[in-house]
Amino acid sequence: MRLGIVVLCVAVGWCGVSFGEPSQQLKIGYMWMKPSKIRVSLLDVPADNDGLAGAQLAIDDNATTGQFLNLGFDLVDREVSKGEDPTEAVKELADEGVGMIVTSLDAERLLAVASAAMAHGQLILNAVAIDERLRAEDCRGNVIHVAPSRTMLSDGLTQYLTWKNWKRWLLVVGSHDNDKLFADALRRSAAKFGAKIVDEREFKDTGGARRTDSGIVEVQRQMPLLTQGAPEHDVVVAADESEVFAGYLPFRTFVPRPVVGSAGLVPGTWNAAFDQWGAVQLQNRFVIKFHRPMSTLDMQVWTAVRMVGEASVRTGSADVAKLVDYIKSPEFSVAAFKGQKLTLRDWDMQLRQPILLFDGRNTVSVSPQHGYLHQYSSLDTLGTDRPSSKCKLN
């Protein structure tokens, strides 16, 4: 048998990949929902395989290393439809032998999935929900947060604004719940880093007519009105996760001020222009495979699937219990093109990570900003730190 393999190696000219079938195979689940395609800009409309493509590329990347170690990786993806009970999918995946599940689900569904997964000893890697409560009163021992928290995003942005000395904010908030949660996070960040909110405005989503032919004319009048008569401010900070109005603010504010938050300078974990720390290699691999730019969701799902792969490679195992132990241990880290290793906070299972500030074309800066010091990791200046955490893991 061995001889046969050696002959094959010579024939294909590459021994590295030709050690035959992997002896251990690990199935990684991916549960996802079709995202809304309604965006202020057509350029931001997500692809049908948004997120899924990241999972597929990470499986490839895991497999490249795995083949040298006789470890194989399969992706089992499961779409969850709107009316469906997601716990059904958890059972199905358990029946298929899937012990690690990456999710692109909202907070409610994620919690339902986490409870159902307890019974099967499955680990959930949350790649999309940024809600603070999932890392606080609703935290779970079997959920790892690869997506940053809202506060990490707002802290990352605020550190930069403070460094720029743009400390007087006009805060404009959307009328949906998640907009208000983002505004809360921004208020906390402002208090934490010494920015001052000089005035607040609300933009009520009345349904609007964003795609009617008269839209531009209307928006051009609305946005100055929305921002008129505010006290002296350095920036307009928009909290509009629902993508209703913030995209219309730049160049339309009453006084000429930069827009940050949900438009203008936006905090995130990735963008298709990011090219630092070897990131250009990942961007190239992604574009070659999928013929489109790599989105933030793609990257967060990629990172989650790579974390599982990294645990498998480092332990030389496909045993779920072993992998879970390793991922939760202090030895665990993952490289995700952020110029430093990413590790887990043991108090709420949040992945520590830098926050990129993207202007729509380029990465303007990466937080934590220089000078924000921390006794353990400067990454812990972003988000909820151990002493203030409300999470009790079980």
Partner: protein
């Protein structure tokens, strides 16, 4: 020591080596997908090598016969015949190959791959991978001791230095670095320079702005030398009296007195220096 001249190169120059006879300087210009050959006497670009896509680090064998270059974008190691300036082979390796080192007996080429986190051992004769070793995250540079007894590999994100037994292809020890006042994630080992006698190693710690002096025998970290910002790679003068290191973010070169283990000078150079080559030299 001062700057006496500058040579215009292609886009994104990174890996730099001299031919062992000192006649040529080779510079990988990643964005132009080639390695430029600079005539050391005239300082003119005298030709190009078919390096394949996005060349970064490379190594040249002691007889100036073959050049081995990592193609970061395409998971390949390309082998170039320096006499004919032709590509003579490619070997598939892990994702994002980076560091390249040739064993002193010229039989094995080691190539690290950053996302795969491995050192691949390539048989020079057969031009194929004969062994793979898993290392700390994002292995960056590899260097053999001159007697071939040890292979040193840095892990940029893992933060350590792996001491590898190249015959057994096993990690003997992982050296960790700790600098008071610096967070662990700021310590990112990149370039390595080993003295010819193998008694001292200098490991460049990137954004930690330090070069670690490592005892070549006990592998203890003896000292951290404060250099410029974002130190990448370096080279010894031929007499090994001095080690020069390139500081990418402060645009200068630090000169280290090897015997005294002290930084004695810094020299302002162009923007974002990355690598250093000194010719003629037997030690690297």
């Amino acid at each position: 020591m001062k700057v006496t001249g500058a040579v215009k190169t292609g886009q994104r120059p990174r890996g730099i080596e001299t031919s062992k006879d000192g006649k040529f300087v080779y510079v990988a210009v990643g964005d132009d997908d080639t390695i430029e050959i600079i005539d050391a006497a005239t300082l003119q670009v005298a030709g190009k090598l078919p390096s394949g896509e996005d060349p970064e680090q490379f190594a040249i064998d002691s007889g100036d016969k073959y050049l081995y270059v990592a193609n970061e974008n395409s998971a390949l190691l390309t082998i170039i015949d320096l006499a004919t300036r032709q590509k003579v082979g490619q070997v598939a390796v892990g994702i994002e190959p980076e560091g390249v080192a040739i064993s002193p007996d010229a039989r094995i080429v080691v190539c690290t791959s950053e996302t795969t986190s491995m050192a691949h051992f390539i048989d020079v004769e057969g031009r194929k991978v004969v062994g793979n070793l898993l290392l700390g995250a994002r292995p960056r540079s590899a260097a053999f001791k001159a007697d071939g007894s040890e292979l040193w590999v840095t892990s940029e994100v893992g933060g350590g230095l792996s001491i590898v037994d190249p015959a057994a292809r096993k990690t003997k020890q992982v050296v960790k670095f700790a600098i008071p006042g610096l967070r662990g994630e700021e310590i990112q080992p990149v370039g390595i320079n080993l003295t010819h006698d193998g008694k001292l190693g200098f490991v460049h710690l990137g954004p930690a702005n330090r070069v670690a002096v490592v005892d070549g025998i006990s592998h203890e970290v003896l000292k951290y030398l404060l250099v410029g910002q974002r130190v990448w790679h370096g080279a010894f003068t031929p007499d090994e009296k001095y080690l020069l290191v390139a500081n990418g973010a402060s645009n200068d070169i630090s000169v280290i007195d090897v015997a005294a283990q002290k930084v004695i000078k810094s020299i302002q150079v162009g923007e974002m220096p990355w690598g250093i080559a000194i010719a003629p030299t037997r030690d690297r």
